[in-house]
Symmetry: none
Subunit: 209 residues, 4 copies
DNA sequence: CATGAATGAGATTTCATTCAT
DNA sequence: TATGAATGAAATCTCATTCAT
């Protein structure tokens, strides 16, 4: 058989599962860039190389599609973070591993984090999204709670600063992901900066001694 | 006909300046909560107790209204920040003053910062907004550049960490304002936390010695 | 009394009659250029240097204003045409006088004829205008009937070509006025051309003898 | 629910090409009768038995629809006129053929010419239409230039009366088409009249000898 | 006599969704 | 499985008109 020859028989022309994941992948980017409302079904369909009607074969509605994208992104993200922190025993070490994972993920697919930022914004704007995405809050909160509790256990964090640290970590990660929407360089720079900040090495006091 | 139904023509005791600032004030909240697209003219008009047509008596378009709100909010915010940092001579002192000012402003009108966050998101989603709001970037960038340059001058920040610090400060403030959309308590807690983080007092290393 | 000195006493600042005729004059141009619908009250008011509300002091509605403009233009036009044809006794002489009058009027105020063309078009598009302007048809029809009847009486026109001639004259004048909207030169050229056409001097047969 | 009410989704037995040409045909009449602005999407949709939204399935905008109608009408009209004059060699013969073609076309579809008249008016009123329809001017101008140039070549028209004749022909045809909006009888009568006028047989001089 | 604030009706356009094919 | 014709609801914006001042 000549190497470049086409196989005989029915070509695997249209593959349902492939189409569905193409829709999911393109929707992730589109939602990440434009948000829920501004991403029209037409845009989503064009990017996935199908028509608007076909979307409804795979997803019940635009909202369902968004939620499915979120489910996938959320899982990828927190699976990775779980794996990243697991081998470490201290708050600082786990935090460092999180920074590493964030940079890795951002390098692999910048839209992953961007989507989560967009979803966070849209949750506050569209009540139905708030309702639909609420269930995902659990894993996220648990992840950060475990992180900070490690610090309390090891003595790195005072017990009465537990909530404060949680709030700082949350705000920092939101800010970092937003920074990721600017440019890859800004993102890396901000991550390095926060690493130094937690290490107490970013700024010293101006008062001598 | 209902007793207190609105009649055609100029309503009695109507005041142009008052109506205009009522529209601006309500638009600020509405845009802050829902973003540009999801804030419909109907919503804006209802909140300001007028009809959608009347908006166009004061503003050329919905986008013009948004830009006017932004102009006002931006000015209030950076006037306040300028005043706050002015008396101080070091990076750490200026940063502390910024934290104070943020808490104050948040207490006076939580929608001020929320609006700026919403505007930031919408700029990335709506090209016309990006164009219209670009001019405001100058003052913001200058403010933060001056802040960090102070630190470089006093020796608090190494010259080669200037950009990194800028990126961290930017990401932190975005994160903080996002935290402000959750609850006032979370916001205060996160601000306190960042204060400690910059002071190097939030977390210590778990390694003894 | 110094020549350039201002008169003492109350200056004739705002004069009701002057304002009304300013509105009429500007409305004539505006309607002529843009038609009834596309001429907004705002445009009419701006051109007359007043506000939209003031229009309603002088005219009951936009339609009333249009009708008043029409009344004026129609009268000026047909007074002039009546005066032009009156001294002449033959169809050809009267027609020549009409061509002269048309050129004169076009030179004095090109919007006069343009307005009538616009009104003619808008009558066919807006039922209320058709109703309001119908009364004016009488004088116009009478004028052209008298013109052609003169030709029949003098023997210039065969009695059985009376209606045909009426239709040709009407179509020609509409065409001419439309030509007037292009450029003054085109208008003059078309008038000269029609003059020659009626004199049988514009085109000769190509067949020899 | 009323028995023959329209349901959501694609109606049974619907045919894309048929719908599109139904829209075009109805739009031609509607635009011809009411002009561009006064023809609302609602009117166009009702006449074509669809909803306003469906128009946008076939045409990008109301203006696009108008331009498409114009493209079609313009082509039908000038194809016919080209065919009509082609077999003839003199100006007078070509002009006669044009009169024949005009009557034929008017008999087949009175809205064809009416549409062109309406478009001509609207071009002067709506700048976007002027821009969009400018390309069509070329064929029209070339047609009439060729017609008159034939006359100059055969000696029917003096070379120095070329422009004048062009202007007369243009004004006459505009006048004729306007006459066509009145009644079919008036139109035929005016066409016959112009035929005689060009033949020098409509009116004779009243002066003897 | 005149302003200009405000209404209400309606225009163009967009878009998620439905459904015959 | 997929298309794309079509709907219906809603959004932005325009504008003649009214009316307190």
């Amino acid at each position: 058989m000549a190497p470049n020859e086409r196989r005989l028989g029915r070509p695997p022309a249209s593959n349902s599962a492939a189409t569905k994941s193409r829709i999911l992948a393109e929707a992730r980017r589109c939602f990440a860039d434009n948000g829920f409302e501004a991403s029209t079904n037409k845009m989503l369909a064009d990017r996935a190389d199908i028509t608007t009607g076909a979307i409804y074969h795979y997803f019940g509605s635009k909202l369902d599609l968004f939620v499915d994208v979120h489910r996938h992104v959320h899982q990828v993200m927190y699976d990775r973070l779980d794996d990243a922190v697991e081998p470490h025993d201290s708050f600082q070490a786990k935090l460092g591993a999180i920074f590493d994972a964030i940079l890795e993920l951002q390098g692999e697919d910048p839209w992953l984090a961007r989507f989560l930022v967009a979803a966070r914004t849209d949750m506050g704007r569209i009540p139905e999204l708030e309702t639909a995405l609420r269930p995902f809050a659990g894993r996220r909160d648990a992840f950060f709670a475990a992180l900070v509790d490690t610090g309390v256990t090891t003595g790195e964090i005072d017990a009465d600063k537990r909530q404060m640290t949680l709030d700082v970590v949350a705000a920092m990660l939101i800010g970092l992901t937003n920074a990721g929407t600017a440019s890859a360089e800004t993102h890396r720079s901000a991550v390095r900066g926060f690493r130094e900040l937690w290490a107490g090495a970013l700024a010293r006091s101006s008062e001598p001694v």
